[in-house]
Symmetry: C2
């Protein structure tokens, strides 16, 4: 048994969709969450900046004694993890590999779509990882830069002409490519599950990358001996605005207050 | 005559709409522009974070010998300028006062609307400044949090159902309030001039806050003795992605390469 906590970070609060999954499948674990709300979003930034921010996020979490770190941010996983993983003496789980493995398991026609931020798609790592698993897979990728601000402004409901128009524009190429599996390669996108599923149709399976990262951690780490783990939240901008948005992603009430971190000092 | 440069900063590249105005009305001035592209946007962040970032932006610019600084960011002007202005020994021009003076000059019915980011509207400074000029003015404010990401994704054209739907939602209360003057209290918004003007109708005057800040500088500073000033650009994220977006806001080709700044070190 291993009672050390699991560290989780994201550029903002989207990574809480991975925490939600950890709460479901590993309820006994202690979790330390850091959301870089003072510098969110990462997905529009250049690679060097994403690498620098990812290093700082990991250094902050490693002030605690952790048994694993989850990069619950596809942008950081895609653009930075290969570069920084070897610099730290802790197992680090990203979203890319487990999502690709899941997509390969569920596809029947071998045509997989991947959507994410501009930086995630530019990194091309989902294409390389899927091809490494099976060189016969056909992979279609598409950056969806308006999805994050639309989710953060609550534009997620069926019948909203704004989100439905943007979903149609971004995902028509996925339909045209005949994908039967679509990786939601950003931890904000599970909140768009219904409108995306409606547009893509019943024959397309959606893969939740944050949930797959959580599943990978469960398969790999030694569980805690105690029961009823606790989650501590840290952010780099106003902790008071954390609670409201956190509820959106966790789908549960948040009673814990987040603590403020000066992340640029790490 | 005073040949020292004018410093201009913004959370990102929206402030280039103010530089565009400076190029028009003060073509002989040297300009140093800093865009905090590594931490953009400011408008969604808490007040303490905006104050911290604003201080760092000013400290960076003051490494040069400047005759004035323009805060070409309504969020920083609204949330931070009153706090930090007295800490620095240089004239600092924000967007709020000159925009309010202009709005008061042009309104005929005394009903003025102000739109901006969440942080700008929360600060309530436009309301206080307008009331200080004339306590009989009726002021209606509205945060428009989707305008910045929509502009940055090029959703600015007439006929785009996404921007037209969002404009209608955000600005219907302005129409209902009967405003005859609308302050575009964010330096991204001039790119939405046409769709906003179409919706508000010919009887409503739009006030460009970045241009008004530039006008205020011209009225106050001693001009340069040389002719044909030069503009240097600095950013805190990938300089290579600067040129393309800069063209959007400057409405002119940008041949200068931007230089990278580690702004968190200031």
């Amino acid at each position: 048994m291993d009672n050390r906590a699991i560290g989780v970070f994201d550029s903002g609060l989207g990574g809480l969709t991975a925490v939600r999954r950890l709460h479901e499948i590993m309820p006994d674990e202690n979790i330390i969450y850091f959301g870089d709300t003072g510098r969110v979003p990462y997905g529009t930034r250049g690679r060097d900046t994403i690498i620098k921010y990812t290093r700082q996020d990991i250094r902050f979490l490693l002030e605690r004694d952790l048994k694993a770190i989850v990069v619950a941010c596809n942008t950081a996983s895609a653009a930075a993890l290969d570069t920084v993983r070897g610099e730290f003496d802790v197992p680090i789980f990203g979203t890319v590999e487990p999502s690709c493995e899941k997509a390969r398991q569920v596809t029947k026609n071998g045509r997989i779509g991947v959507i994410g931020t501009a930086a995630t798609v530019r990194s091309d790592i989902f294409v390389r990882s899927l091809r490494a698993l099976d060189s016969a897979l056909t992979v279609t990728t598409r950056a969806c830069p308006l999805f994050v601000p639309l989710v953060e402004n609550g534009r997620v409901a069926r019948g909203d002409v704004v989100i439905e128009t943007v979903v149609r524009e971004y995902l028509q190429p996925m339909k045209d490519a005949g994908v039967d599996t679509l990786v939601l390669g950003c931890t904000h996108y599970p909140l768009l599950h219904d409108v995306i599923a409606d547009f893509m149709g019943a024959g397309v399976t959606l893969v939740d990358s944050g949930a797959e990262a959580a599943n990978a951690v469960r398969r790999a780490v030694t569980p805690a001996a105690h029961t009823h783990g606790q989650t501590q939240y840290f952010v780099s901008d106003d902790p008071d605005s954390f609670t409201q948005l956190a509820r959106l992603f966790l789908q549960e009430d948040v009673t814990e207050r987040a603590a403020l971190v000066d992340i640029a000092a790490y």
